[in-house]
Symmetry: C2
Subunit: 110 residues, 2 copies
DNA sequence: ATAACTTGCTACATATAGCGTAGCAAAGGA
DNA sequence: TCCTTTGCTACGCTATATGTAGCAAGTTAT
């Protein structure tokens, strides 16, 4: 299963694909997980450690939905981003740049 | 106040700017609010309506933090994105494209 | 002026989502 | 055999989000 058009999600009945995506990304830890996998596969516990020792309950829950969406896959080397997710984590790198810019400039200069 | 380096946030002690940003964006409705403001200013109640009638309690809470981060500003015409936030909502447009692509393709083709 | 709106926003009780500890079964190594 | 590591789950607790109702201030209409 994947992000499919025409299916209502939490907080939106429109069924537009972006809504499903915003919904998932707007859950706590989802963005962080994708971020922490940006440079290499991680075991469940290693990933958990990278995410400030987040609760395994939630980590597992997030991994499950991300796997359902074909954004994360598990193999012998651990959990890792799929090709699909790598498009997304490209955007996260942009986000990182923005955050750094903002942190180094006064409010009115960006 | 803004995204400032060296300050620990919920779920991260590193103080890296991206962490503060991921933390905020990972709260429910935050991404959606930025998305719904992408093409024009909205009044509190109009914005609420666009966000599937989300609770005013949370809407106000989100608006407060987004205003603190200088991503949203309120004037006579309503709430709207700042220059800073428009960089971010550019990324949301990319996200929209991705979501649409994925929705129209089988899992193994993206 | 006064009644009818709309504005941003808040109180409060309830429901949902996330947390943290402890521990399981399966697989691998010594 | 025993020790470790793997992914993952149970369960009791806290934090976060929801939804209804409504306030005070401002605008418009009568």
């Amino acid at each position: 299963m994947v992000i499919s058009a025409g299916k209502p999600v939490r907080g939106s009945t429109s069924g537009r694909p972006i809504m499903a995506l915003l919904d998932v990304l707007g859950q706590r830890w989802t963005l962080r997980i994708l971020w922490e996998l940006r440079d290499g596969r991680q075991s469940f516990r290693a990933l958990q450690a990278r995410c400030d020792a987040m609760s395994p309950t939630i980590l597992n829950q997030r991994l499950k939905t991300l796997r359902d969406m074909n954004l994360i896959a598990l193999d012998e080397a651990g959990f890792g981003l799929t090709a699909r997710a790598r498009q997304l984590s490209g955007l996260l790198l942009d986000l990182d740049r923005l955050a750094n810019d903002w942190a180094s400039l006064p409010d009115d200069q960006a």
